[in-house]
């Protein structure tokens, strides 16, 4: 039997940072808020576009708004007890780890491969010991069973090495939210550890 009270308490006192609030980040944030995470640190610089609604956790009437303020509204409507800190800014080379210094786990939810690689590199070198949950191979549909978790020390990659890049394939809710929730699920596993 798991100790549900202990789990609730542990999550309430935990923090997760999410870099990027697109398909991966917005959905991971919502799941973690539902799970009862105490603190979220969310970073994005984009405004919501109509084309984002095929996979990102926003609504039609939020098109044009910054993702950071829209996600705050949506999380508030789901679980107002989550302390949400947002940074409406672009992560710049050299200071990418700054917003995430104090969180327990970081979720890499960026889109472009170059930026993803740079971010993971900066976090692993700049914040040694900090667990990072990344994702690579999100695009497409089907092939759920090709996705797996590759763990290398503090780096956990939700990975489908055979997926095509989003420049050559569609991004759609089923696969993107699957991977976003996979990342959120790993974050819970890291946070709860032996207190399961």
């Amino acid at each position: 039997m798991v100790n549900k009270e202990k789990i609730r308490e542990k999550l309430k006192n935990s923090s997760v940072g999410i870099a990027g609030l697109g398909g991966l980040g917005s959905n991971a944030a919502v799941s973690l808020a539902r799970a009862g995470i105490g603190h979220l640190v969310l970073v994005d610089f984009d405004n919501i576009e109509h084309s984002n609604l095929d996979r990102q956790y926003y609504f039609l009437d939020q098109v044009g708004k910054p993702k950071t303020s829209a996600i705050r509204e949506n999380l508030e409507r789901i679980n107002p007890s989550v302390d949400v800190m947002v940074f409406n800014k672009k992560l710049e080379k050299g200071s990418m780890s700054d917003p995430f210094k104090d969180v327990d786990v970081i979720i890499e939810a960026l889109d472009n491969a170059e930026v993803k690689t740079g971010f993971i590199e900066e976090i692993l070198l700049g914040l040694p010991g900090k667990p990072v949950v990344g994702a690579s191979g999100v695009a497409g549909y089907g092939n759920s069973d090709r996705i797996n978790t590759k763990r290398m020390g503090n780096l956990y990659m939700v990975y489908d090495e055979h997926a095509r890049s989003s420049d050559e394939d569609v991004l759609m809710a089923p696969r993107v939210t699957l991977i976003a929730n996979w990342q959120a699920n790993i974050a819970l596993e890291i946070l709860l550890g032996e207190n399961k």
Partner: protein, 65 residues
């Protein structure tokens, strides 16, 4: 011998990360490389030698999110 993504591979004296990636035909433009769980920064791929008996993980970074 070294292990690359779980595969046993011959160790080559003085081989760099860049050379190993080429030998393995890992031609993806963007990868994350760890040797024995230590991250190798991309700028060091041409200088970092692969030690014998090491365990190397290579992740191919694909756009999408």
């Amino acid at each position: 011998m070294i292990t690359v993504n779980g595969k046993q591979v011959e160790h080559v004296e003085n081989e760099t990360v860049a050379e190993l990636l080429k030998r393995m035909k890992y031609t993806f433009p963007l990868v994350v490389v760890k040797i024995n769980d230590k991250l190798i920064p991309r700028k060091d791929y041409s200088e970092t030698m692969i030690p014998d008996d090491s365990k190397i993980s290579v992740i191919h970074m694909i756009s999408g999110g």
